[in-house]
Amino acid sequence: MTTPVAQYALQLGDDALILSQRLSEWCAHAPELEEDVALANLALDLLGQARTLLTYAGSLEGRGRSEDDLAFLRTEREFRNVLLVEQPNGDFAMTIARQLYFATYQYELYAALCESTDAELAGLAAKAVKEVAYHRDHAVQWTLRLGDGTEESRRRMQEGVDQLWPYTAELFEADAVALELAGSGAAVDPRTLRPAWEASVAEVIEAATLTMPSGDWQPRGGRAGKHTEAFGLLLGEMQALHRQFPGAAW
């Protein structure tokens, strides 16, 4: 059986992998060339984190699964990412809203995880927290520009933060795996990240002259492999070629 750390690494790895996949869909379609560079850069950082985490998860579970086995040969129901990262790109404002929520969360998470008693996780976090600090900054700057830009951009940015807001609750849910590991100091109890996250997001939304979203709909299920319908299509595309040639090396 798989260990709690393997499961935890899989959760974080899937978050990074799926968000990277979504961001890479922007390739050659960004609003300006600088953003083609920036979005690819975010996708690359996340992909790097995903590779480290999936490789680590595979080594711990002891079934000989590589990062590619985990990425390309699991089914929809076996992925453990939160629903937020699989949400479709929408327009640029929607993508930025997703980045603002997720990068702020990931920054708090990795900052705390630097102190993990698990040396691998601590090492990954120490490296990734620097990358994610940039991701957060990128999202913050664009949230400000779009929120406090034109009438149209404000409307779109408000729509983005509103529509994705419900999916943020899941980021801070403590499942059995996280709780067990938090007890031993290997993982972070996600609930402890919420105050700093919320303060940080609220500050940006206010500075962007936007209204803080609310509402009590809190969809969840990603950590248990219950995803949204859009996820199956994303996965089908991601895995299509790999599955077309079973057993081939690339």
Binding site: A28, D36, N41, L44, F72, F92, T150, E152
Partner: protein
């Protein structure tokens, strides 16, 4: 001024933005640099087509980084063009309206994953051969941009070769996929060096101005000579029955290029011309409100000056 310009050219020194230059020289450079920049950004499309489907995470990372580099090359090159007194928005407009071209090679589709390897190996390979001499181009900003670009392109070329090598040495299906890609990309790659010297419109003047240093046919021959042993190393067959070593010339002879196809693609009738430009225009139009927002934000926050930091961020 003219004399000073010719002196610099003759001494093989660099012309810099502050220097006087003949209008025709400036125009030639703008046209060439813009076309080069456009090629980088249109070139992101055929490769971008496979990022979401890359068959391993390592290959996905390599491809993503490569496409990111291309966007970066586009940025340097537009910046180099801007030193000649044009601006990026106008150049993009010329691309979108069809007044300026990009390399015809990107009007071919990427039909399989092996095409990503073939583009790296052959298309980047041909580009490098075209571009190495440009590192010594008489116009300074362009020459310097080419130094960095060539370095990255060599890296991409090796990665493409390696991708194809793994396919060619993989399963029978993978090998067939690699061969099929070579079959489709070989001739279009030869056409990347432009029309035969006898018919090349701009070559003579560009050579005199040291923008260009070798003829199209010379560079094409160099490409063939370099590619033949590489194809052998891959275990793939170049789709040209007339290809053979000519001891006397010390070069490979090769078959006759179908210039009708080249002219068709150039005239807008390649397999993907319409899709490439349409996708580019769509991205630009869809991004209009974002660029407007950034401008509006920057204007607000530089006007009242109360928030220097945000200002910087929005610059």
């Amino acid at each position: 001024m003219q004399a000073r310009f010719e002196e610099l050219i003759a001494a093989d020194e660099r012309i810099e933005p502050r220097d006087w230059m003949p209008e025709a020289y400036r125009k030639t450079l703008v046209r060439q640099i813009a076309q080069h920049a456009h090629s980088e950004i249109i070139g992101m499309q055929p490769e971008g087509n496979w990022i979401t489907r890359a068959p391993s995470l390592r290959r996905k990372a390599i491809l993503l980084a490569k496409v990111q580099d291309e966007a970066g090359h586009g940025l340097y090159l537009y910046a180099a063009a801007e030193t000649l007194g044009v601006d990026r928005a106008d150049l993009l407009d010329a691309l979108h309206s069809g007044r300026q071209k990009y390399s015809s090679i990107f009007n071919y589709p990427t039909l399989t994953w092996a095409d990503i390897g073939a583009i790296g190996w052959l298309v980047d390979g041909a580009a490098i051969i075209n571009q190495i001499p440009l590192q010594r181009c008489s116009y300074g900003p362009y020459a310097r941009a080419m130094v960095r670009i060539c370095k990255e392109e060599s890296f991409h070329q090796r990665q493409g070769f390696e991708l194809l090598y793994d396919l060619a040495h993989g399963t029978a299906e993978q090998h067939a996929m690699a061969q099929d890609a070579l079959n489709r990309w070989w001739w279009p790659s030869l056409m990347m060096f432009g029309p035969p010297d006898a018919e090349s419109a701009h070559s003579a003047q560009s050579m005199a101005w040291r923008i260009k240093r070798h003829s199209n046919d010379e560079l094409r021959q160099r490409f063939v000579d370099i590619s033949v042993p590489q194809a052998e190393a891959l275990g793939l067959t170049i789709p040209d029955p007339d290809l053979r070593w000519n001891e006397e010339r010390g070069h490979h002879d090769f078959g006759v290029i179908d210039w009708t196809e080249f002219q068709e693609v150039l005239a807008g009738n390649g397999p993907c011309n319409r899709q490439r430009v349409a996708a580019r225009v769509r991205a630009h139009e869809d991004g209009e409100w974002v660029r407007q927002a950034a401008l509006a934000y920057a204007a607000k926050h530089s006007a009242d000056g109360r928030d220097g930091e945000r200002n910087v961020a929005a610059a």
